[in-house]
Amino acid sequence: MVESLILDRRTELAGKAALHVILIGVSDYAHLPPADDMPGEGLAALKKLSSSSITVAAIARKLQQLDAEQRLARPLGTIRLLHSPAPEELAKDPTLGTIGGAPAMRSEISAALKAWRLDVAAWKDAQAFFYFCGHGIRRTLEESILLAADFLDENEPQLFNSFRLSNIRNGMVPSPKFPNIGREQFYFVDACREKADALDTLDTTDTPKIFDAELGSYDDRKAPIFFATTTGGLAAGPALEPTYFGNALLWAMDNGSFDKRHIDGVTGNVWPVTPPSLKVGIETANALFDSRVELTGLVGEPVFCFRRDPPKVSVAITLRPDPLHEPVQAITIKEMNTDTTQQIAPCANAGPYPIELTAGMYQIAVTPPSDKFARTRSEIVYISIQSRMPWMFDLGSAL
């Protein structure tokens, strides 16, 4: 076995709950045709990919950056990287060849997952992070069959070199064997969830197991699953760049927070990133994901990471009535904490008027006041990435 660990701080963090990460990125499927070839028959209709390895490497770097900035809810204990980059990915980013990790073959993935589970199982307050980027098939609600780089090896049954997400999640349940397994587990599946028709021709869609099904005791986990696409959908990305989902996740880990509040173990109030806010962050980062990211599993609100300053929010302001009774000279947006203001001028029509704000409390006023409108000052509104846009201010009518 090749060592999949690319970061190991277990000794340094001994006695502390840590974050343990496993990243699997499969581009170079050994037994699938290149992207520009004619599709093969059955499951061989799938083709090689060209952004999975770049994506998981970018996630690894982001996690290390967050850790260096002390913005993770738990210090980063380990990163296991299993990736099979496409030659063109290596050409684009030669560091993929030196970053370390193991090839994303099924046997390597299996060994790494077992070692990852042992690390997570050492501490009840530990966190687990699982990210798969590659081909996934079969579409039921909380389930995907995830395909390793040696999928469709002709010497093996067709689904031999694959594994089920549910097998991993069920193997991570608190159980008599692993009573102290970390209760906060984050799963990300950046893969298509289209059901290959060829699956209907197989006598079974069972895959070899990585973990024995553990019948837990009390399953008190917070274990959200993020799917890059809803059931039946296609995940995608530009060639030789992080996938759309991966890119959006990178942004959301920085900016995906609703509120400023206290979280355990951190001095001062911060802007926490939780599964619901992460989902909204992903959807905010890329309009492609509006309502397409699926957040399921045992969701809860475990804090994954945080930022100390408010995130930026793209805001669109519209006025009503439309058309306006008369143009307004300016819209003034006041930030209630510092009383600082920004102006948009002139405003000949109802908008929308785009502006970038930091999350917080704001109030709009139109200047100068006009006796043609019933209101010239809005109620105070809390603006965050969760806010529905546009922000509409109804001036009413005094006519």
Binding site: T140, A213, S217, G232, R261, E379
Partner: protein
């Protein structure tokens, strides 16, 4: 010693029928100081605050000015949500009947004239899961009688405690023409004297593809349903916990709306908050022992608590039962079936399942595996898009 004061935030008259809504109290630095709900005092240290009410659609709207709270004093405020459209209040007892008797109804039911936003729908009734045993994955034949679903008003649709019932209507999607089947839940409100199963339904055309929003006669429950549709977990939990408090005070939401109680149970399980689910399920099972989602919820609850033998036994006894209304209920059943089949196959008969039981488990698993790929995961109520006859399957 400085005593805390309180802030009581009221939604304006137009929005009060929403029931309790999440109120977040922030200080000038945007720090969250406290959370509560509209109409209830929220304790805060003396200071200057901003109170924000989260509307069911996710907007957080506050007052026109900051609120000053003195030691021991109660400050009252009204959030400035005067532009919010008031929720419609409907009463099952007086709503005009637009329900469709299965066999004999004329194509358009009721006095309301069809408009551009009306969609003709049919109620399919039978054993939904049993359809997915064969190789034919086309939609089942539909009865000819239909009625109009409206986007402009809620319509009262009769429910039934026998068999699965689904609303069926044709739609065009990116994947071609399909028949959309939406599980048809029903509500009972014994405390309000409503013991005939029924539900209010309205078309939602916001996404371009017709979908169904369901409502009840309880404004509080309707608020919860709106929040679920907007998929705002924090808000869902706050409102659910308010309903739970009432239950603990002796007023069961199950007696107000069984549909509301089921929704609350799913919200709690989604966050893996198990405390109180058991009591709600007990009450639901007393009111309607055949409630399909109560079974799925109970199985999942038992499994989460580690009571797997009891979960398996209930699964075995309910194997031919009705289909849950909620997408999550179907998912729970499938995942538990898979798990228990796997465990039974690989260990020494931990659940004493007979060969016949195992065969039935596998049949049910296979049915669900064939059905669920056709499910629309954007809807919390089970909704399936099945290609029309003649279209590619």
């Amino acid at each position: 010693m400085t005593r805390h004061g309180t802030i009581t935030c009221t939604a304006p008259a137009e929005a009060q029928a929403h029931g309790p809504l999440l109120v977040t109290i922030r200080n000038g630095d945007s720090d969250i100081v406290a959370r509560g709900v509209t109409g209830a005092p929220i304790s805060v240290p003396p200071g200057r605050y901003f109170a924000m009410v989260m509307m069911p659609d996710g907007r957080e709207i506050g007052t026109h000015d900051a609120i000053a709270v003195a030691s021991g004093a109660d400050a009252e405020c009204i959030a400035g949500v005067c532009s919010i459209e008031p929720p419609q209040h409907f009463d099952l007892r007086i709503a005009p009947a637009h329900a469709a008797p299965i066999a004999s109804a004329p194509p358009m039911i009721g006095a309301a004239a069809p408009d551009i936003s009306d969609v003709p729908a049919t109620i399919w009734q039978g054993d939904w899961l049993a359809l997915w045993d064969g190789s034919d994955l086309r939609p089942p034949p539909l009865p000819s009688a239909s009625f109009a679903l409206s986007a402009s008003e809620l319509r009262n649709v009769e429910g039934s405690i026998v068999g699965d019932r689904l609303l069926a209507f044709p739609v065009s999607t990116g994947r071609g023409s399909v028949i959309r089947f939406t599980a048809l839940p029903y509500d009972l409100a014994p405390q309000g004297g409503i013991t005939t199963p029924a539900i209010l339904a309205r078309l939602n055309l916001a996404t371009g593809t017709p979908e169904i929003d369901f409502r009840t006669t309880s404004d509080e429950v309707n608020t919860l349903l709106s929040i679920v549709e907007a998929n705002i977990l924090t808000n869902m939990l706050v409102v659910t916990e308010e309903l739970m408090k009432r239950q603990k005070a002796g007023i069961s939401v199950a007696a107000v709306s069984i549909f509301g109680a089921i929704t609350g149970c799913y919200i709690l399980l989604r966050s893996n908050i198990l405390d109180g689910v058991d009591t709600w399920l007990d009450q639901l099972e007393k009111i309607d022992p055949g409630l399909p989602d109560a079974v799925a919820l109970r199985i999942e609850l038992l499994a989460r608590l580690g009571h797997h033998a009891e979960a398996v036994d209930l699964l075995r006894r309910s194997i031919n039962g009705r289909s849950p209304w909620f997408r999550a209920g179907l998912s729970y059943l499938l995942e538990r079936l898979r798990l228990y089949i796997d465990v039974t196959n690989n260990s020494d008969d931990p659940f004493s399942l007979s060969a016949t039981d195992m065969e039935l488990f596998k049949i049910k698993r296979n049915r669900l595996e064939r059905l669920l790929p056709m499910m629309d995961n954007g809807r919390y109520i089970a909704t399936f898009d099945i290609p029309e006859r003649g279209a590619a399957s």
